[in-house]
């Protein structure tokens, strides 16, 4: 699903954020991307989301070289990817329902299809009873779950999460990870960027460790 081939990213012609990164993530696989702050995790995610282009090497997602995409094609590609942030980045003016429906509206789903999908997504994150609420009245954990519902509502084949448990307590973090595990069992490819060792060690998934822009380790949890 995700393929990095000798990828390097240099900013301003001198600051090397990524250097010779090689890895493949099979469809339906879940992996953690770990490393200290500034190690290059976010740059790697931005490359996957098409916000940056590699200075050298190739980034492929579902067989498509992302450097060949631009404009409308890039937008269409992003519609097939789910994204979860550390800060759920919800729209305060919209209800939970409308926040979750946002990707569907952007993707041009019919109004008859939207309620079914939103209901299913909210039910998956146990927030069916909060559909009409405004995000500001929800707790941090609930807001993060709304963010997750928004990321999965259009049933993406790839889910990218950037520090999804960064603002949550251990119990909520574990709950969010359980959700990711469920999505992975449904066939979604998941890449979770995190620097929380406890989260990574609690689950038996592949770990990609990045340090100073280089991939220094790629293996299962037990190998680390």
């Amino acid at each position: 699903m995700i393929e990095f081939e000798s990828v390097a990213k240099v900013f301003d012609g001198q600051r090397e954020a990524l250097s010779n990164v090689n890895f493949r993530l099979a469809p339906g696989e879940m992996a953690f991307l770990t490393g200290h702050s500034g190690a290059g995790k976010s740059t790697l995610l931005r490359l996957i989301l098409g916000f940056e282009t590699a200075s050298s090497g190739v980034v492929r997602v579902a067989g498509t070289d992302l450097s060949t995409l631009s404009g409308e094609k890039l937008a269409r590609y992003r519609r097939r990817v789910g994204v979860v942030f550390q800060d759920p980045n919800l729209e305060d003016d919209l209800s939970v329902y409308d926040n979750v429906a946002l990707p569907l509206r952007i993707s041009g789903f019919s109004e008859s299809e939207i309620p079914k999908r939103v209901k299913a997504a909210l039910s998956r994150v146990d927030l069916s009873d909060q559909a009409k609420a405004r995000p500001r009245v929800l707790s941090g954990g609930q807001q993060q779950r709304v963010g997750i519902a928004r990321a999965i509502v259009h049933r993406p084949a790839l889910l990218v999460a950037d520090e999804p448990t960064g603002n949550l307590d251990p119990e909520l973090s574990a709950r969010v990870m359980r959700m990711f595990t469920q999505f992975q069992q449904l066939g979604v490819t998941i890449l979770v960027a995190t620097h929380e060792r406890a989260v990574v060690e609690s689950l038996p998934f592949r770990r990609l460790v990045i340090e100073r822009g280089s991939l220094v380790s790629d293996g299962m949890g037990a190998n680390r």
Partner: protein
């Protein structure tokens, strides 16, 4: 409902929400742009209003075409017919030399020339009144053409008041157009800055929408609708200001002018100006916002 209609309805709702969030700023901007646009609009109203009240004689030139002495009647009639068929000729009158002599002899101090009746030195003439709707050069071309005609002895040309003041009027016209362009650039810049500031304020939201796969067109839509609302309201304000100015000034001018010409009792408002000003308001707002949002989105992406 059709997805397209829903998307646009949503964009209009978003635009309205943005407007109501910054209502005071929006109203100030609408009034500012409206007043700014009213300036060229009002100038145009004065221009067109005055032009419509200019007496016909002020735009009509006159020429006395002296015919060659040995010209036979047929050739003269042929020339007269040819000239009368010209679209710019308002009036053509044949003045026989006997009539010219009588007229001259009736004038003060010229009685003695009546004695020349049997040996009249004057040529026959055609008195031509014409109105060109073009510029001075067109009238000159006509005069040159007539002068070079083999049937014409000579010609005396009395240009219209409009032609005499053409260069002054042209200069004033350029000034008006220049002022209008400056105003339009001012409106464009104001809308550009406001729209660019809106995009900076909404940076977080725009990044989210981009991540979710929204196209630039989708993201731009609310800003363009907001600019359109701004343009429509600014256009309305401008039309209102122009109409009010016209009412007030026309009544003041009418007091002095209606004695000269009854048509000058009021300056009718020209609908084309109102439509033009409103269209320019919407167009410039739209273009200003489009450019600003496109540039900002390009920088953000």
């Amino acid at each position: 409902m059709n997805r397209w209609i829903l998307d646009h309805t949503q964009a209009i709702a978003d635009a309205w929400k943005r407007t109501s969030d910054r209502f005071t700023q929006f109203i100030v901007l609408v009034c500012l742009l409206g007043i700014l646009l009213a300036i060229p609009g009002w100038l145009a109203q004065i221009w067109i209003g005055m032009a419509s009240l200019v007496p016909k004689d002020a735009v009509r030139s006159e020429a006395i075409v002296f015919l060659k002495k040995d010209l036979d009647v047929e050739a003269r009639i042929d020339l007269e017919r040819l000239l009368s068929e010209m679209p710019w000729v308002d009036e053509i009158m044949f003045v026989p030399r006997s009539a010219a002599l009588e007229q001259l002899s009736s004038q003060d101090g010229l009685e003695s020339i009546a004695e020349l009746k049997n040996n009249n030195p004057l040529p026959d003439a055609l008195r031509l009144k014409f109105t060109m709707h073009g510029v001075e050069a067109s009238e000159n071309e006509i005069i040159e053409k007539l002068t070079s005609d083999r049937r014409v002895l000579s010609l005396r040309y009395y240009p219209s008041t409009r032609i005499q003041y053409a260069s002054l009027v042209e200069m004033l016209g350029f000034l008006g157009v220049g002022l209008s362009l400056l105003t339009i650039i001012g409106v464009l810049m104001a809308v550009f800055l406001v729209a660019a500031a809106d995009v900076v304020d909404d940076r977080r939201r725009i990044e989210l929408y981009t991540l979710l796969g929204a196209s630039r067109r989708f993201i731009k839509r609310p800003y363009l609708y907001r600019a359109t609302i701004l343009g429509v309201l600014a256009g309305l304000i401008a039309c209102l200001v122009i109409t009010l100015l016209n009412e007030v000034l026309s009544s003041v001018l009418a007091l002095s002018l209606k004695a000269i010409d009854t048509r000058l009792s009021n300056f009718p408002m020209d609908g084309r100006i109102l439509i033009g000003v409103a269209s320019i308001a919407v167009f410039t707002s739209w273009v200003g916002a489009e450019r600003a949002v496109s540039r900002r989105l390009k920088a953000l992406h």
